[in-house]
């Protein structure tokens, strides 16, 4: 019986540890907002689809090559974005389901910017030692709620380099130093 217990433990350990190391945020709790939203963006790219997408990038194109390099080590990108016609369509409870996960071990809030015009943007990084193993961006506005989750080793240098190639102006983002926000914990 002891041998059986040990075998069971050995079998389940990789499964459990793989799940524990996953920096993926569960966003399904926000799905109900799609019915209220005037515009919804829902991107679910797991590792398989990322690899598949990387296959069709043109290596001769400099921009595409850069994007391919960026996503090479990533295990997934998940985005949920809702735009509403009127205010108050989402509740603090909706945000709390996301923030609760971002208060978990390893996650650090890097930046928190609040403005009347653009609402609040929070940037979280998941550190595994010194390495960044995940990124989450939470943007809340009166009429918008966006959650971005990048799973895997995010290269902020490369991500910053993509700016200006993604339909947004090049604002010269530089990767920021890790500044752990103690207020968050």
């Amino acid at each position: 019986m002891k041998l059986l217990s040990i075998a069971l433990l050995l079998m389940l350990t990789p499964v459990l540890s793989a799940k524990a190391q996953d920096s993926r945020i569960q966003m399904s709790s926000l799905d109900h907002l799609a019915a209220k939203a005037s515009q919804t963006v829902d991107v679910n790219l797991d590792e398989r689809l990322m690899r598949l997408a990387a296959r069709v990038f043109d290596d001769k194109d400099t921009d595409e090559r850069e994007v391919k390099k960026l996503v090479a080590g990533l295990k997934g990108i998940y985005v949920k974005s809702f735009e509403f016609d009127t205010e108050g369509q989402y509740t603090p409870g909706d945000l709390e389901t996301i923030r609760t996960q971002l208060r978990g071990p390893g996650w650090t809030r890097l930046v928190n910017v609040t403005s009347k015009k653009d609402g609040m943007v929070e940037v979280y990084l998941l550190f595994n030692g010194d390495a960044v193993n995940g990124l989450a961006v939470l943007h809340t506005d009166d009429k918008e709620l966006t959650v971005v989750n990048i799973v895997g080793p995010v290269d902020l240098d490369k991500l910053a380099k993509l700016e200006g190639q993604l339909g947004v102006p090049d604002l010269g983002i530089e990767p920021q130093k890790k500044t752990k926000n103690d207020d968050e914990k």
């Binding site: 963006v41 400099t62 960026l70 700016e163």
Partner: protein, 160 residues
Amino acid sequence: MKDDYLWDKTGQPDPEIQKLEEILGTLRYEPRPFVLPRRRNYFPLLAIAASILLAIIAGSIWLRVRSGDEVPPQDAKLESPTPKPLEAPQPPRTGSALNPPLHASNRIHKPRSAPSVVNDEEALAAKEQLMLALRITTEKLSMVHRKTQPNQIKNQHRIG
């Protein structure tokens, strides 16, 4: 002759009875310790079998969990296997890597197997999703940068 011998083995025994006793004595009950027959120990084999079974179950659960997280497969149109004629030359490509132009390419489509075509279409759809995700991500990061930029400008002035 007294019959006490038959009851409690006292008194004079009858020779015939003694003879019978000798004959039947060989069949007398003799107490012996109870010994179970030796059986093979199947426990290690059972443990290995159970481990393999558990591995299969755990693997299938893991695969199911993973496949549940994945996006449902998208419908993809199958291209006709017949080669298409050359189309008129297209204007030079103007879109960036992340905003690819939506015009059709002018290369000849070679006949391919259906799974390959489906895979290609899935890959293109995945690429579009990836671009959209990266665009949103950098847009949000730009917003953060825009809000934090005044501090940098002050610093640059101080340095300058």
